[in-house]
């Protein structure tokens, strides 16, 4: 028996270490063997079949009285002290499941590296001023009466493979996002209903029309990112497999070379030396690093050790544990200034950290149970004791949108009596031998609390212990990030601890998270009553499976409205309705971000921009090779530069 058991033990240990290396290595490009389809005719036919949506005109048809803007009066974003060059070593928690930017698994944590923060739309919101500065567009004009936005593309704009960016890439964007090939219901819905027309005037000039003149209608169009027409000639039913590991040509500065994709291990971004926008006012002095090497390190403790060793250049110190205990100001590297610590107070819509209750599950479909749970979750304790008072309580799921956020509504506090009262209303009056509430049928008040945040698992155990006081049992399930997200996307969770990242927008979105379209197929019958045979819809962001007939109406009105005041009042009404429904337990938000970085990682004097969500979002940092050599040398000899612990509270 000796040999067998020890062999198993060895197997356990060994496999554990190999596991990270094995994942994802089995996929191969088998698609090359099949004849590549050509969809050029199909796309043309698609345009021709929808003349209302896809129009072709000439420059002569362009209205003459348009007020063209170019945003050139806004301040620059990068710092003129920045130096180009060098490699930044960074880390990702999980290897991306795909390099596609649309379709299944594409909405993961790798997306910012290939889409959100590294590619260009027509124009982007200025991270300090909120107005638009030009990206792919050279100028644009807003025609509010006709709900149309006109754009002239920058004639220099190029895809990373050298092809020019043209109006057709925008037409094609509608084709691909409206198609079923990409298996992305959200895209299909959004691009079919939120836009009504695209008109091409010449290769560089086009206009896009939207159904309602929303207060932020310019952002609806200006933030669109084109899809490279020439790259998707092979688009077909096998899109998901065919494009799984192919890097789509980008309008941005970073490409991924095939040789840099080491599945399961690492992936690298390489800067295009002759990027077309490199000297443009708003794009110069940004994207300074020649290469960004992203290595998969799953365990956050290991990431920190790698950072301390200097193997990776920056490390987020948002958790109090890291900021105060693991990298205290008295740490040798900090005291000597080899590692610098920075806190930056920002202003932006807040990610919605909280508990998402799946209302399609038994018991959780009961409003009293849900509200009881709201009172049974002690977020304040977590904020005070675990985050050491640095964070604040999130009040609703749409905080940080200025007047669109509800002015008075506050999240329910931890209150045992109120929780018990609500649980009692739902029939849970007796406690069993362990103090868990049970109802007359002997059913326990117990739910699974799952999460993909391995580094926040302590938060969950604290919540569990506190909830026990109200007779609520939470069974903890910690998954890895990808598996956790998969679970909620498949709507298999009871209660899930997660957050949606939010982008810089004028007002919150409701359709994605609260509309019944994203909860069930045919949620309601004609008369508004619940469809008894409705089927739960997966792969949507309505994690709570909310389907309220009145809410749907409000959301539709909100989406259709072009009056800011009306939208604000609708947003407040919906936020209240959501609060009353009790399917979301607002957690916490962090009014700042903070990080540690080696001395050679340099940031502008102002550190970063008002609306930035993370230090690297706008790629304004750079690496100073001289300082690197200097710092490494100083570390050997023990020379001190003096501590550099900086607080940037200009936007506090």
């Amino acid at each position: 028996m000796h040999t067998t058991t020890s062999r198993h033990l060895f197997g356990v240990l060994l496999l554990g270490f190999l596991l990270s290396a094995c994942g994802g290595a089995e996929e191969s490009q088998s698609t090359d063997a099949t004849l590549a389809p050509d969809n050029r005719q199909e796309v043309q036919d698609y345009y021709a079949a929808r003349p209302d949506f896809f129009s072709f005109k000439t420059l002569a048809d362009l209205p003459a009285d348009l007020d063209w803007q170019d945003g050139m009066d806004l301040p620059e974003i990068g710092s003129d002290q920045a130096i180009k060059g060098g490699t930044e070593y960074s880390q990702i928690g999980d290897f991306p499941r795909t390099l596609r930017t649309a379709g299944p698994d594409s909405n993961g944590s790798f997306r910012p590296w290939i889409l959100d923060y590294t590619s260009l739309g027509l124009a982007h919101r200025h991270p300090d001023k909120f107005d638009f500065y030009p990206a792919l567009a050279e100028s644009w004009a807003v025609d509010t009466d006709n709900k149309t936005i006109y754009a002239k593309l920058n004639p220099n704009a190029r895809w990373s493979d050298g092809e020019p960016v043209t109006a057709e890439d925008f037409m094609f964007m509608f084709f691909i996002f409206q198609s079923d090939y990409i298996v992305a219901p959200w895209y299909k819905n959004w691009y079919s209903t939120q836009y009504t027309n695209i008109t091409q005037y010449d290769d560089l000039t086009f206009s896009i029309t939207i159904p309602e003149a929303k207060p932020d209608m310019d952002s609806r169009v200006l933030e669109l990112r084109p899809m490279p027409r020439h790259f998707y000639q092979e688009l077909g039913d096998d899109y998901v497999d065919r494009y799984q590991w192919r890097f789509q040509p980008t309008t941005g500065p970073y490409i991924i070379k095939d040789k840099d994709i080491k599945k399961g291990t690492s992936i690298a971004l390489t800067r295009l030396k002759d990027w077309w926008a490199i000297d443009n006012k708003f794009w110069k002095n940004r994207y300074n690093l020649d290469k960004i090497q992203l290595t998969v390190i799953r365990d956050s403790a290991k990431v920190f050790e790698a950072f301390k060793k200097g193997d990776i250049d920056q490390f987020g110190l948002n958790l109090a544990e890291y900021w105060y205990d693991k990298l205290p100001n008295t740490d040798v590297d900090v005291e000597h200034g080899y590692i610098q610590k920075s806190i930056f107070y920002n202003q932006k819509p807040r990610p919605t950290y909280g508990l998402w209750l799946n209302t399609s599950k038994p018991l959780l479909d009961n409003q009293d149970v849900r509200i009881g749970i709201n009172y049974a979750i002690n977020w304040q304790l977590v904020i005070d004791r675990f985050f050491r008072g640095d964070y604040s309580r999130l009040q609703t799921s749409s905080d940080g949108y200025g007047e669109f956020s509800h002015p008075t509504l506050s999240a329910r506090e931890f209150n045992i009596d109120k929780a018990l009262a609500h649980f009692a209303k739902a029939g849970f009056t007796e406690r069993d031998e362990n103090g868990i509430l049970i109802n007359a049928q002997g059913q326990k008040l117990a739910f699974t609390l799952s999460s993909g945040y391995e580094n926040l698992k302590d938060v969950i155990t604290i919540l569990k212990e506190e909830a026990l006081k109200t007779g609520l049992e939470l069974r903890v399930e910690i998954l890895d990030g990808t598996a956790g997200w998969k679970k909620v996307q498949e709507k298999q969770h009871d209660i899930h601890f997660s957050a949606f990242n939010t982008s810089l927008e004028m007002y919150p979105r409701f359709w994605e998270t609260y509309h019944s379209d994203n909860a069930y197929d045919d949620a309601f019958l004609e008369d508004g009553s619940v469809n008894p045979v409705r089927k739960l819809k997966t792969q949507t962001n309505n994690l709570e499976a909310i389907a309220i007939f009145e809410m749907d109406k409000l959301i539709d009105a909100y989406r259709a409205s072009s009056d800011k005041a009306e939208m604000i009042s609708l947003a407040h009404k919906m936020t209240e309705m959501h609060h009353d429904y009790g399917s979301f337990v607002p957690g916490f938000y962090q009014p700042f971000y903070r990080l540690g970085h080696w001395r050679w990682v340099r940031y502008p004097e102002f550190f970063n921009h008002k609306h930035s969500g993370s230090a690297t979002q706008y790629h304004v940092h750079w690496i100073d090779p001289v300082m690197r050599a200097e710092t490494l040398e100083a570390q050997k000899t023990g020379t001190s530069f003096g501590p550099a612990i900086r607080t940037f509270d200009q936007y506090k």
Partner: protein, 355 residues
């Protein structure tokens, strides 16, 4: 009264003679005894509460809400606070707390912040607290208990299945043996860790913790019994050709009687020798699985989970990893010493001298 045959008595005497193994056995036995009454030693429930002249023994009973003792809340009484309240009130009520007045689950943060606390006598956190301010000694204690119980259950099941099938293979031989050997070969080629991961990803977490531990046990047993069959098969092959088996068969003993009453006692020494090592293997495996996050469901106290926490906080809280590591080493050393002693005392070649 159980009468042991002289051979066995001799072996046991020899075992007692090997001091290192014998004392290890006594220590481990004592430890198991202690852990089996663990609730009386390490618990946040009081041993005895005397309130308004009524005595309560909350340790093994249903929970007592605070209202039972004149407090205002309806959830489980905090007996440590109650003790202080009674002492201050000084009206004859009293609370006797266990030696270590903490449970393995409660977050106790005297400083108000959840962070690892170094060992302190004053607060009775003798080994400090972990990252969410849970008492490490309490978690180690219950973690060890679960590991020991788990590994003993594991051993029993592996032996029952391994012995039955192994003996049958050896005894019947022929086609039966051939087929089973091939089945076992196929079976042992299924990767164990992947199976555990897959099984754990499909079982709903709505199952109670005990059920999930049971499933883990089942999976581990399913992958470990084949090893046992190899030894039993060869031993049985050897024994069944002996004359006493032939004699038993002539008398008309049934197959099962021959296997369990005649062969099994004679291969007992092999079995007993392997037993401690099976336990060592099981403790190691469950700890490794926990360390990797595929073992016992959170927040079950476990050695592997503490080791993981310890390695994550190596710089800031070295006491976590130290206590977990020392416990694991001690446990495995004790079992190994016992194993060595058992092997030696059951070795028939005691007086053989090689020249």
């Amino acid at each position: 009264m159980l009468s042991l045959n002289p051979q066995t008595q001799k072996k046991l005497r020899r075992f007692r003679g090997i001091k290192r193994g014998y004392y290890s056995f006594l220590i481990l036995a004592g430890l198991m005894l202690l852990t089996s009454i663990g609730e009386l030693l390490v618990n946040n429930r009081a041993l005895l509460v005397s309130y308004e002249d009524t005595w309560y023994f909350p340790t093994y009973t249903d929970f007592h809400p605070g209202t039972d003792f004149g407090l205002t809340y309806g959830y489980e009484t905090n007996y440590r606070d109650l003790q202080q309240t009674f002492e201050q009130a000084d009206n004859g009520d009293f609370v006797i707390m266990p030696l270590i007045p903490y449970s393995a689950f409660e977050n106790h943060a005297p400083g108000g912040i959840y962070k690892p606390l170094p060992p302190t006598l004053e607060l009775k956190h003798y080994l400090g607290t972990d990252t969410t301010s849970r008492d490490i000694l309490a978690r180690l204690f219950y973690g060890t208990r679960i590991a020991l119980m788990f590994s003993i259950a594991f051993m029993v099941w592996v032996y029952v299945i391994g012995i039955s099938i192994g003996c049958a293979m050896g005894y019947f031989g022929g086609v039966f043996d051939l087929i089973f050997q091939r089945l076992i070969e196929i079976w042992s080629n299924i990767p164990f860790l992947y199976t555990v991961i897959i099984v754990f990803s499909v079982i709903p977490s709505t199952f109670a913790v005990a059920t999930r531990i049971g499933i883990l046990l089942t999976v581990m047993v399913l992958f470990s019994w084949p090893g046992m069959t190899y030894y039993m098969r060869t031993e049985t092959y050897k024994e069944k050709t002996r004359d006493y088996i032939a004699a038993a068969r002539i008398i008309g003993a049934s197959d099962s009687r021959i296997i369990f009453n005649h062969i099994l006692p004679n291969v007992m020494s092999t079995l007993v020798t392997y037993m401690p090592f099976t336990i060592v293997g099981a403790i190691g495996a469950i700890t490794a699985l926990d360390f990797l996050g595929f073992g016992l469901p959170a927040p079950t106290p476990s050695l592997g989970e503490l080791l993981k926490q310890g390695t994550a906080n190596l710089r800031t809280a070295p006491w976590i990893v130290t206590s977990a590591f020392l416990t694991l080493v001690t446990l495995l050393t004790l079992v190994t010493f016992i194993g060595e002693a058992v092997r030696e005392s059951f070795d028939p070649k005691k007086f053989t001298v090689y020249k």
